[in-house]
């Protein structure tokens, strides 16, 4: 379809009388060469499709297959290299689920994700509404708010861990100045998770801001004018116009945020290594720790945790598709 179209565009306008026999049969003529052209079209279609298919196969399908394969076999370092790891069914999953870390990691993942998203969304929305007023410095300020998004994660995570250091961090220094005792942000079991959540919220705000801001731009200004004429207060305008009309965009933002946040690994790993103990471990960091964190890798259980995480994300991915479909309808 696409090829035929492009073909037509490239040709000069057909001059009546000079009939190209193969390409423009007159109506009623027997369709000579039709089959050959069909096959060519189909071939071309496949050729256009091939890069995507190969790309998806090599970079998504195969790694996914390998990951599932790793998680259902009993791998030792020897069988990882030499091959021949025995099939062990659900053993890795059973081992992982019965591990005392599992409950902690699952709970931490849920707390981390939900709290991060709620705050990212609320702050992002507040900022988007704020910048939507279009005051003079708005574009500059908005650009500044994007910085967390532009910085490499290793830079922002390291900076956070310096700032939150119990001995020499600037946060404790400020607390000290206002007369509050020192807090072990990254090294106390009761604060470590909070600290990584705060850092993650900071990183996620720009994403929410950008998407919600573009959503706000699509709300026609007349609605606000009409509401103002009817005497609606700012809060009423937000509640009755902005929020309902922003609902589709909000749903997408929240679901994408959910999928992104579930898999956050680097930030936590750099700031706390999931510690102290397991107090800031999530499924993502635990999976990495099993697979690569010690001198003796446990690929099977590590992959099993990864698969559980994928399943959770897939669930939300399907939810996302449903929401998107409902919006399209």
């Amino acid at each position: 379809m696409t090829t035929a179209h492009a073909d037509g565009l490239q040709r000069p306008p057909a001059v009546p009388g000079t009939t190209h026999e193969d390409s423009r049969p007159a109506p009623g003529d027997p369709p000579r060469g039709r089959r050959g052209r069909d096959r060519r079209t189909r071939l071309a279609a496949w050729a256009f499709l091939a890069p995507v298919v190969i790309y998806l196969g090599v970079f998504y399908a195969y790694p996914l297959y390998r990951n599932v394969d790793l998680s259902v076999r009993h791998y030792t370092v020897r069988s990882f290299v030499q091959g021949g790891a025995p099939f062990s069914g659900w053993d890795n999953f059973r081992q992982v689920v019965h591990d005392p870390t599992f409950a902690t990691a699952l709970r931490n993942t849920m707390v981390f994700t939900v709290v991060s998203i709620v705050f990212q969304y609320a702050i992002g929305l507040a900022l988007a509404v704020f910048f939507n007023r279009g005051f003079r410095l708005a574009p500059t300020l908005r650009a500044l708010f994007l910085i967390p998004w532009l910085l490499p994660l290793i830079v922002s995570a390291s900076t956070w861990s310096w700032m939150l250091n119990s001995e020499s961090g600037v946060v404790n220094y400020v607390l000290h100045l206002i007369g509050v005792g020192k807090v072990d942000w990254l090294t106390s079991p009761s604060w470590a998770l909070t600290s990584v959540i705060v850092a993650n919220i900071w990183i996620g705000i720009p994403f929410n801001l950008v998407i919600l801001y573009s959503g706000l731009q699509n709300i026609p200004a007349e609605l606000y004018e009409a509401a103002a004429l009817d005497g609606a207060s700012t809060w009423q305008q937000f509640r009755r116009i902005t929020f309902p009309l922003l609902r589709p965009v909000s749903a997408i933002t929240l679901l994408l945020g959910l999928i992104y946040t579930l898999k956050v690994f680097d930030l936590i790993w750099i700031m706390t290594r999931g510690g102290p103990g397991d107090s800031s471990s999530t499924l993502a960091t635990w999976s990495y720790r099993l697979g690569f964190g010690s001198l003796l890798p446990e690929f099977g259980p590590g992959a099993a945790v990864g698969n559980i995480l994928i399943l959770i994300a897939l669930l939300f991915g399907l939810l996302y598709i449903r929401v998107q479909r409902r919006q399209a309808a």
Binding site: F59, V81, G277
Partner: protein
């Protein structure tokens, strides 16, 4: 149309996650089999490029063996896994330098050759240093050098607190010294108790200094060591951020000049000279006096298994060249390590007398995977650092932390 979009969205949604979990298929090229004259060489020294003394030494050893060496440097923590993946792809390097506790894991995976099988003699190496590379009585690598841990002290801080470093002979006198320092308004001691192998490495001298047994973490001896650390942290003699300190960040704390003691390794000697204050070194005391056995650190040169066994001849020549006394002397001076042979050690001490306490410390040091521990060590070590983290962060008592660690280590081996 709707269908394809849905499908693509579904794939994209779950693929967003595969990035972290996909383990296989590294993108390294398969060049090792092609050119006969090119030998691949991996090491964990990314700080040295081709123009450094180390880079030149590796290249010249290749030239002497009549081949070209293609050297690639990886991050230490990365190298073990990279080696496993490469071996799985049949693409292991010809010669590889790895951190010593990794050797037994790689042997377990069947990746490494016995030194005797490729014709490399290891008789001149001190037995406790090569211990970490010995599996079932056969060495699988040659140490390029050794390092270990000791206590650096800041002479100014100790003088201000009226502490004589010579008075630190056992744990009680050390704790007493730390209290005096704290009373004088300075900070006591810094070390690394991070939840990685580094944390276990730093804890071991204290654990062994209390006659702790890695196969029985909960037998009460190790508890004394863990209580010592926990008390230091809870009494403010050691900072709370040791829980997040790597050995590098711990050194940076010591280098601020605020700390009386810092537990750190031979490799910091170069930095110690730049620290800007007079420093000294004592060995880590055992619980009841004497020097505690510290773990050996340092890398081993190994020869990974190749399909084409004809390659071993040149590989062995490269290894012998790298571990000859003159090469060891040059390399260990650059790395600030202690040489693994008696001859090179005495040459080192003649050239740099400050190394003397370190040579003594290395002589009493123990390999982490020695004594037949092998691949059980990584499992135990992980539980050990978890116990240290649990106790120091205040979550659990030293006793219950170590009991849980022992149980987890046993369960894992079953």
């Amino acid at each position: 149309m709707r269908h394809t979009r849905t499908a693509i969205a579904a794939v994209a949604a779950c693929a967003a996650l595969t990035g972290i979990t996909a383990c296989g298929g590294s993108g390294s090229g398969s060049s090792s089999s092609a050119a006969s004259g090119t030998y691949t060489f991996w090491d964990p020294y990314p700080q040295f490029d081709g123009t450094s003394a180390w880079g030149k030494l590796v290249a010249s050893c290749g030239t002497k063996a009549g081949v070209t060496v293609k050297r690639t440097a990886y991050d230490t923590t990365d190298l073990g896994n990279k080696a496993l993946l490469a071996a799985q792809q049949g693409d292991a390097p010809d010669v590889m330098l790895v951190d010593n506790p990794v050797v037994s894991t790689l042997v377990q995976a069947g990746i490494l050759n016995r030194m005797s099988d490729v014709g490399i003699s290891t008789t001149s190496i001190q037995t406790n240093i090569i211990g970490a590379g010995v599996v079932d009585g056969s060495p699988y690598g040659v140490p390029i050098g050794a390092n270990t841990l000791a206590l650096f002290y800041n002479k100014n801080v100790l003088a201000a607190a009226h502490v004589d470093p010579a008075s630190v002979k056992d744990w009680n006198s050390l704790t007493a010294a730390l209290k005096k320092v704290k009373a004088a308004g300075k900070k006591g001691i810094t070390f690394s108790a991070i939840g990685t192998e580094e944390g276990s490495f730093q804890f071991l001298p204290w654990f062994w200094g209390a006659k702790g047994d890695l196969t029985h973490l909960d037998n009460g001896n190790g508890e004394a060591a863990l209580s010592l650390w926990k008390d230091w942290v809870s009494q403010g003699l050691a900072p709370n951020d040791v829980l997040n300190n790597t050995q590098t960040t711990s050194w940076q704390e010591f280098a601020t000049g605020q700390y009386a003691f810092g537990e750190n390794g031979t490799w910091q000697l170069g930095n110690a000279k730049k620290a800007g204050f007079p420093y000294g070194v004592i060995s880590i005391p055992g619980q009841d006096g004497g020097a505690a056995p510290a773990p050996t650190g340092g890398e081993f040169v190994t020869v990974p298994v190749q399909k084409d066994s004809a390659r071993y001849k040149a590989s062995a020549q490269i290894v012998s060249c790298l571990t000859s006394d003159s090469s060891l002397l040059a390399t260990d001076t650059t790395l600030s390590y202690v040489a693994p042979t008696g001859t090179a050690q005495s040459q080192q001490v003649t050239a740099t007398p400050e190394l003397k306490p370190w040579v003594a410390a290395v002589a009493t040091a123990r390999g982490r995977t020695s004594d037949g521990l092998g691949t059980r060590y990584p499992v135990i070590s992980q539980q050990l650092w978890t116990a240290v983290q649990g106790a120091l962060s205040g979550g659990t008592s030293p006793r219950s932390a170590l009991e849980a660690a022992q149980k987890a280590a046993e369960n894992h081996q079953n």
